[in-house]
């Protein structure tokens, strides 16, 4: 069963790896590219995980409490993600000429990683645990 969850785990690990790369980037083009890729992975993780959880919930395979917790963590992630997207967009518009914006965008991308980590930490074990029938 764990092999089936591999795609989501790969996404989570890739996010952590990429954000590490983004923070270490000094070159503007690389910074923007790596931050973009990090945020893209975060967006896909958010969408895939919530779709999967919603599907499970519609089949009554996760509880309303579990759904509410996923919504709560998802909302935290969405806010952090959109903040990072806006800061990165402003940085790109400024053509990488604003050190303050770069610092803010870096911090925001870091916050996104934290958000997706929290979200994944909750959702992936939920899928694993349920799939092994330990909850029932």
């Amino acid at each position: 069963m764990r092999q089936r969850v591999t795609p989501l785990i790969v996404i989570a690990v890739a996010t952590i790896f990429l954000v590490g790369c983004a923070v270490l980037q000094t070159n503007t083009k690389s910074f923007v590219k790596t931050s973009y890729q990090t945020l893209f992975i975060g967006m896909e993780t958010y969408n895939s995980t919530l779709q999967a959880l919603a599907d499970l919930h519609s089949r009554k395979l996760i509880t309303d409490e579990q759904r509410d917790k996923a919504i709560e963590l998802g909302a935290v992630y969405m806010k952090a993600h959109n903040t990072a997207v806006e800061l990165l967009r402003q940085y790109v518009v400024a053509e990488g000429d604003d050190a303050k914006l770069k610092a803010l965008a870096s911090a925001a991308v870091l916050a996104v990683t934290e958000g997706i980590n929290e979200f994944s930490k909750y959702a992936i074990p939920l899928l694993l645990k349920d799939s092994e029938g330990k909850d029932s």
Binding site: M1, R4, V5, T6, P7, L8, V10, I11, A14, K29, V32, K33, Y36, Q37, L39, F40, I41, M43, E44, T45, Y46, N47, S48, L50, Q51, A52, L53, A54, D55, L56, H57, S58, R59, L61, R67, A70, I71, E72, L73, G74, A75, M78, H81, N82, V85, L88, R89, V92, V93, L127, D130, S131, G133, S136
Partner: protein, 55 residues
């Protein structure tokens, strides 16, 4: 494994096969990007709230 557990297992496999590879493919495409524009970044905005998935 009882019937409920079997149903759960099949559901999770179905869901992961449906959503996991799609996400991986999309990410693989995003990894190929060379130059990121402001429009590319704007496209990353999430406008679907978590509760919308459960409606």
């Amino acid at each position: 494994m009882n019937t409920k557990e079997q149903l759960l297992l099949l559901s999770v496999i179905d869901i992961l096969l449906r959503y996991g590879p799609k996400a991986i493919m999309a990410i693989a495409e995003a990894m190929k990007i060379e130059t990121v524009t402001a429009d590319d970044v704007r496209a990353l905005f999430i406008d679907k709230r978590p509760e919308d998935f459960f409606e």
